[in-house]
């Protein structure tokens, strides 16, 4: 069973190449608001997480997610 910290760690590493503004990443960092991910980049980023953990992340959870911490928490809840 993957725990919250593992999801969080992978999210940080997956964001490295997308973090063009070199924002300091934390659980409170906003994916779109702070890092500036485009909708296409969000989908690529989500796919990286899906393939790494061999899970599916439904699109319908995304409107409730704005920060890195919220995403890690949501994925963790979905895959308990």
């Amino acid at each position: 069973m993957v725990d919250y910290q593992e999801y969080l760690a992978f999210i940080y590493s997956a964001l490295e190449s997308l973090n063009k503004k070199q924002v300091t990443l934390s659980e409170d960092t906003e994916l779109v608001g702070d890092i500036g991910l485009s909708s296409l980049e969000v989908m690529e980023f989500i796919e990286k997480i899906e393939d790494h953990f061999d899970i599916s992340i439904p699109l319908n959870i995304l409107p409730d997610v704005s920060t890195i911490g919220e995403l890690a928490k949501k994925i963790h809840q979905l895959n308990l």
């Binding site: 909708s39 296409l40 989908m43 899906e50 061999d54 899970i55 599916s56 439904p58 699109l59 319908n60």
Partner: protein, 402 residues
Amino acid sequence: MLFDKFQAMADFRAELAEQGVAPFGAVTEEILSATEGIVQGRKVILAGTNNYLGLSYDSRCIAKAQEAAQRWGTGTTGSRVANGSFEGHQALEDEIAEFYGVDHAIAFSTGYAATMGMCATLAGPGDVILLDADSHSSIYSGVKLSGADIIRFKHSNPDDLAKRLRRLGDRAGQALIIAEGIYSMLGDVAPLQEIAAIKREYGSYLLVDEAHSMGVLGESGRGAAQAAGVESDVDFTAGTFSKSLGSVGGFCVSPHAELEHIRFCINAYIFTASSSPSVIASTREALRIISSEPERREQLWRNSHQLYDGLKSLGLKVGPSASPVVAVEFEDHANTIACWQGLMDQGVYVNLVVPPASPSTNFLLRNSVSAAHSPQQIDEIIAAYASLKDRGLLTSAEHGEG
């Protein structure tokens, strides 16, 4: 501010206005035939419609519409579940079901309502929908309304679909897979044989939107599933009357008797007025014509090959194979707009497509072919592109490998 989110659109429109170009909602001032009209004061070849079989201007369809308007009036003023079910609506449903060789059909007031309504209703909270990433806006709107878990698979990628179904475990057997026949922007055909095989393996359900493939593909024009020989795997076929059939409206057909119950749960069917009697009458006549005149489909494909081969030979970046939709992809956005206007100036109207309607960040010039185009008109369209190339408007970025 409430309006802040529209600023990007306001900026884009201002940019177009500055260039003196008005590609969106260009007003057709007069229709001269199925393939010619007056737009922006000039006579143009209409190469940006969905009038694949040229039936929007067929005299038999027009006559049926006129008769129906005389007999039944201009509108029904009500929903299908209230006062808006006339004899013609029922007859059209019977005829579209018969056309598809199934027992159940629903006629909707628009194609958008058909796909959105079906996608919003078939699956609900707790269910799973797997949809192609390049699905039409009506499908995205519908699945969002459904409350189901929504999972995208890579465009026309059966391996990715299979991977995502595997991840679902036991839920895969109740999942609804959604694909289209021909994709509207690039004109590519879905790999339905492979998708149907995966559907069978997992015991899922399959909805195919044949909006752009009905009347275009398949031995009797039923679409991509018929062409692929997998119609028995399709649980729900959605489509539109506004393309090959030249009118307006949409449908869903199914071999499942449950469609008759589902009908009364679809908000997009219940809470809207039914189609006008004239629309129903012309649609029924067009359906009769596409069944009895397969030569229209043959002409459409001859024309499609002529345009595709012509644009490809100019070295333009077109899709992988010929189709009634031939899109030229552009990376340079300003250049696309200049080319759109350049075609208009030469009497050729095509569609300018920008994200999110285009499947990537590229702009598109979307050309669509009709069976009613003459070979000379297709040559004129190709010559207009050649002229853009001669003027240096088509840069190397728009050139494919050819």
